[in-house]
Amino acid sequence: MIKTYLLIDDEARSDASTEPYVEAIAEASQGSLKVESYLPTSIEEVLEFIAKAKPDGLLLDVAFTNALIEHRAPLPYDGIALAQQIRTLQTRGSRHGAASLPEFPLVRFSKADVIREYVYGDTTSDDLFDERIDKAAIIDQAEAVAKQLFSLAGDYPAISAYAANDKSDEALARLLGCEEGFLSRIDARALLGLRRADAPAHVLSRYITGPLLGRSGPLIDETLLAIRLGVDRGRSEDWPALLAALKSAAYGGVFAQGYERWWMALVIDWWSGQIDSERVLYRHGAVERIEAIRQKTGLTRLTPLPEDPDSPGTKFWHLCFKSMRPVDPAFGFPLMPEWGQETWHDVDYLCLEEAKRDSRNNRLAPAERARLAKLRRGEA
């Protein structure tokens, strides 16, 4: 089924400005997404148009400086103000049944320089949007963006239904695409955001795309999955086959189509059930992990992550926050949690080389700085 997004953009009148994005999304989605452009006028007219158009989702530009009203005056509001008004109307609608606006995903859709000018460092508007996309990403990562947009639009009704009903374990398990019994294997703190009684659909949606899928913890993405299995993806032709073998650990809940993730607990289960019941995954080095996988699955075209003096060790488990190198926690440098990072999230790490380069990073705890200083003394 085709999902329709409405792109509200101050450059919508000039087709040359918005058309490349509209076309790129439609093409990357292989026809499953349709994007219609709309030039903002007064906020009342925009809201009325949205209510009539009934889109499956909105792409919102942040700056409306090129959209002018009478006497060529600029609009007295921007995309962030519009987003807030839409969220308020969605919440009122769901509360009072007035349904002035139904729940649908809001996606911030701007160029990086506009974001720098309007938002830079100010996170107060982040929660308004289900996703924040740089317009340039449409050209570079069109397929991934199209998948995200499709899954957001497609699964929002499921979240709305969940929000409107009793948030039972059964309903929550259905939302997350897992068995009810599996919920007890997740840190209860990680599920609190989805058990909030009064939360409207867009708050629940933000919780899923943000804390749950946006940071590694109970769920991990493909990059981290490869690191934890010790696989050098770029040099492993059997990586897709290994992913297929790990299907039982794949996240199958809402937005799964746009956000491929794996339950870490089920990856560990897979390891102990299929590969090695005696020794847990994280006790092995990359070479041992690959050897064990090869023996049990017959997938021979897998290459272990190479050793790297800039990120020493072999029991890789994390991804360097800056260099994106695999990190063995015994040799990496954990960073103190930043705002919004929960106790059930994985800790961010710097690899050795990045820690040396950024030794004044204020997220390095005193103990880590001392460790780093000691290493440097040893090298001197």
């Binding site: 019994g181 294997r185 607990a265 059930g273 015994a330 800790v347 001392a370 003394r377």
Partner: protein
């Protein structure tokens, strides 16, 4: 396994996972561990598929479950009265590993009898500091472990209490060639009450982070509550076995099970 039995058994394992999540949250909140990921991973293992003891091992074919905390770093306070006195302790962190394995209960009544069902409880801890000799930094390492010795009835050259605390061990391999002036034989192996993950973390905090541990005791009621359950599941039966073995030496001169805990307990 009946449905009710399975439900109660799953609940037992869920509770162990929740304990681990809770201790991880406390360590995070108090800034006592830079990364509690190893505890989170261990919690994930609590409900993994059951494992079976392989051939050639004690209790071959018997099913068990368990978890493993691998290399959890804990921030340590400066230690006093250390040797060598020149050791520089500032901002050190220790590395704790814990393995817990418990046999599957045979009936619903056995659920929670962790001491009786215990397969292995191994705890391992070490930390590194340094000192300067003739202006050159030399590494120093402290290491101890608490092992389970399952073969308590076989003879060995020195006593092997079922749960024993031992200083040194394999963790000293890394600095073995640098050791001077201190000799460490494998003995004594001190009989010790078993430590599961919660009790092992508590042991380390109590011994190496005394000030923070006292604050936890006074200001964090959930910390005290968290320790109660494993103490009751492991320590109560451990000390009861010892007390009964010693009290009843007139009727059971061999000491019974107490003799496996402390092989010195026997009367004939």
């Amino acid at each position: 396994m009946t449905a009710a039995f399975k439900k109660a058994f799953d609940q037992h394992r869920n509770e162990r996972a929740e304990e681990l999540f809770d201790i991880a949250a406390i360590l995070n909140k108090e800034g006592l561990a830079p990364d509690t990921g190893p505890i989170q991973q261990a919690a994930a293992q609590c409900r993994a598929d059951l494992r079976t003891v392989g051939p050639g091992q004690l209790d071959t074919g018997r099913q068990y479950w368990g978890f493993e905390i691998a290399d959890l770093r804990i921030n340590l306070e400066d230690q006093k009265h250390v040797r060598p006195r020149s050791a520089v302790m500032s901002e050190a962190s220790g590395t704790l590993s814990v393995t817990v394995q418990e046999y599957v209960p045979e009936d619903e009544g056995q659920i929670g009898h962790s001491y009786k069902l215990l397969k292995r409880l191994d705890t391992d801890f070490f930390f590194d500091v340094f000192h300067k000799v003739d202006g050159v930094e030399q590494p120093l390492r402290a290491a101890w472990h608490l092992d389970t010795h399952p073969y308590t009835t076989t003879d060995s050259r020195s006593v092997h209490p079922r749960f024993h605390f031992q200083v040194g061990g394999e963790r000293l391999d890394a600095i073995d060639a640098d050791i001077r002036g201190v000799f460490m034989p494998e003995t004594p192996r001190l009989a010790c009450a078993p430590l599961d993950a919660i009790l092992a973390v508590d042991f380390v905090l109590a011994h190496y982070c005394g000030e923070r541990w006292s604050l936890l005791r006074d200001l964090e009621p959930s910390y005290g509550r968290l320790r109660k359950n494993p103490m009751q599941r492991y320590w109560s039966p451990y000390f009861r076995t010892l007390a009964e073995g010693i009290d009843n030496l007139d009727t059971v001169p061999g000491g019974g099970d107490a003799c496996t805990l402390i092989p010195n307990i026997f009367a004939t």
